[in-house]
Symmetry: C2
Subunit: 423 residues, 2 copies
């Protein structure tokens, strides 16, 4: 023999670009990792979840349902709670179909939602438009399904509308519009750049997509990944694309409780219109017929008891503090030539080095950084494969999420030294 | 417009056959459901999980990692624990590569493992051989992926080896062997028939598959779904297919902690050889980059503390008791013409009525049962679509898992009345 035992997807599924970074972290314990997308360890709600579990499992009346199978859709109380608080965040008063629990599906983290939604909409050979750069695990999902990507340029205030229009025009010209299914947008404190897309831009994007639908012959959806939405450092939330009047039937919203509460308690959700809702629900039935009920009930109680809000409010201060530490260290240790995007929420800084300085896994800088015992995510891992442009190779993602305070300062100092040594 | 917004998978994903049964249960609270695959409510380990969560979250040292992201593979301690206890169950002493934690992947229930493994191996148009009847959610997975099914007849002691050989011969004759990727076997207390496949039959099946591999041009794997393995009523475990000497590289084993411990704490696992292991791991990375750590740590502690074993031993007695209740009620209330398969573990009885009595959703019997306020799973839902035979329409699956004692007795009495009324 033998032909491969694997399916086309199996053969396409590449080792995730991040896996060797994780390997490095595990095998070199002295390394300071500014690479991992972990959340802050010290502020994890250990005693809160302990109290929630104690109460939840304190009686058989509430304990048994938490330890039993639930429905594929998710816990009704959690769906209700999530829909209401979400409507409130978007400034929606009273009933509005887009914010109904009937459109809301609970998943095992929002990543699982992204996966299932993509299965529901995209065939191999279809095209998804993504920000340039974007969330690399979503790129892996697309790649493993044989879905092509086309990039849309980014600005410091998020998606470039001019870039989106240019892209759509080009897809129309080349006859590829029929293959376009989605625009994927990490709209809040984007992974990896930290940039947030304004409400006006969301509206403009939806209008453009609608305009080009005729050429596509089918809906082109906006998939809004709001994983970091609640991790803003101060007031001033931006409404989601669902709040754009008249376009809610083209918006898919992906949210999560993992990052704002506890990443070990993985509960995410999706809000989506028909026929996507029923289809994704059926796919969820095949994946696991429902997210672990125990996790869902813990989150429901956290929300209902006010512990969630309280935790989140402390967490925001914590991340704001860590971002400030990183900002100060960058100012002190990085050469002036490095352009940094300072975020107002989320977990990441984005740094752009002079064009001649490469940051990739095989670059001199990456090796110097390793010698100095500090790790970052090479920016090129966050760029889609797109035959119409070459990938920038001089950027990096720096996370202040997982690292303790002292490591942020020391890690940036080490990295600054490495950068200076190659400039 | 408009063409469908859905992918081929989206269009293929049918409403699961079981969903209207669940609807019925929810909308008619007086109904006794012998249909649902729920586990026993009264014996759910409420106080045990409460104590485990209390200890786990009692210190930040153990609490923080439980609430943080873990690795895609799963908690190392849980993988180690599972691999050792599994080797012990299979009578393996000392090191054996097939029972190494390096082949073991933790998933969000074993259903998720079945899904990802199928993605790793099967393309649309491929063929999976299944028992006739088999677990209907796996049939939904196959159907949604455009994978064809071919059935292999069952006997009271599980898979028919004669049937398997006949099937393989036929697939060779028709030139379809190249499309055959898997034999899916629910080997312990099968869902839906309760039948267990003997070790000798597993060995014979593996030999046959190997024999036909040449014609296929690629490995044909045995996918052993052991979801009910630990729910045996008494001593006398059967070794898994992994223990068949010389064939471990063709065996994929799917196991779970959900059913033997708590279905709301969904943790499953898969054991599989390369290149399937690495591929499925990458697919898991795309699905959710790891099962909720909190659930994994709860299970690890349950195993390490002995609470798991203690619970399981009580649970076995409980299900043995419920099965006996169902058996006695069937003996008392069903007409002699009904042939019942009494299980020695698991959650299900299988009943075969005289051929002229249909049991399907639109049958007179099903309507009578509803009028009598009792629900069963029509057997035909458990049969694969297979162009080479017609589905039997005169069977039913009866579950004693979720129903309280009184409901088992009363439910069978009601059902007996309904059966008599149509005979």
């Amino acid at each position: 023999m033998k032909r491969s035992a694997l399916s086309a997807m199996g053969r396409r599924s590449a080792a995730p670009p991040i896996s060797w970074l994780m390997e490095l972290t595990l095998t070199r314990p002295q390394l300071i990792s500014l690479a991992a997308g972990f959340t802050d360890n010290a502020s994890l709600p250990v005693s809160e979840v302990r109290a929630l579990a104690r109460d939840l499992l304190g009686t058989t009346k509430t304990g048994q349902p938490a330890l039993q199978y639930g429905t594929t859709l998710g816990d009704p109380a959690l769906r209700q709670c999530t829909a209401s608080s979400f409507a409130l965040m978007d400034g929606v008063l009273g009933r509005h179909p887009a914010y109904s629990p009937g459109r809301l599906l609970i998943t095992h983290g929002s990543q699982q939602f992204l996966y299932m939604l993509t299965e529901a909409i995209c065939d191999p050979g279809d095209i998804v438009m993504v920000e340039d750069p974007t969330y690399f695990v979503y790129l892996s999902i697309l790649q493993s399904h044989g879905i092509e990507t086309r990039s849309v340029s980014m600005e410091r205030d998020g998606l470039s509308i001019v870039g989106l229009e240019r892209r759509l025009k080009e897809l129309k010209r080349t006859g590829d519009l029929k293959r376009v299914k989605l625009l994927y947008l990490v709209s809040y404190f984007q992974n990896p750049t930290g940039a947030t897309t304004s409400f006006a831009k969301k509206r403009a994007a939806l209008k453009l997509l609608r305009q080009y639908e005729r050429g596509a012959g089918h809906p082109i959806y906006l998939l809004e990944d709001a994983a970091y939405r609640e991790l803003r450092f101060s007031r001033g939330d931006v409404h989601s694309a669902l709040a754009v009047r008249g376009h809610a039937d083209r918006v898919i919203y992906s949210g999560t409780y993992s990052k704002p509460f506890a990443t070990g308690v993985r509960v995410g959700f999706g809000i989506l219109p028909e026929p996507l809702f029923s289809t994704t629900l059926r796919i969820k039935g095949n994946h696991d017929f429902g997210t672990a009920n125990f996790l869902q009930r813990i989150i429901t109680r956290a929300l209902q008891s006010g512990r969630y809000e309280k935790h989140l409010s402390a967490l925001r201060k914590r991340y704001a503090h860590k971002a400030r530490l990183m900002h100060d260290a960058i100012t002190k240790h990085f050469p002036r030539e490095v352009e940094c995007w300072e975020p107002t929420g989320g977990l990441y800084f984005w740094a752009r080095l002079p064009r001649k300085i490469q940051t990739g896994p095989k670059s001199k800088l990456f090796q110097r950084a390793l010698e100095n015992k500090v790790l970052y995510v090479p920016g090129e891992l966050c760029y889609a494969d797109d035959p119409t442009r070459s990938k920038p190779r001089n950027e990096m993602r720096l996370s202040f999420g997982g690292a303790p305070d002292a490591d942020i300062t020391e890690g940036i100092a080490r990295l600054g030294k490495a950068i200076k040594s190659v400039m």
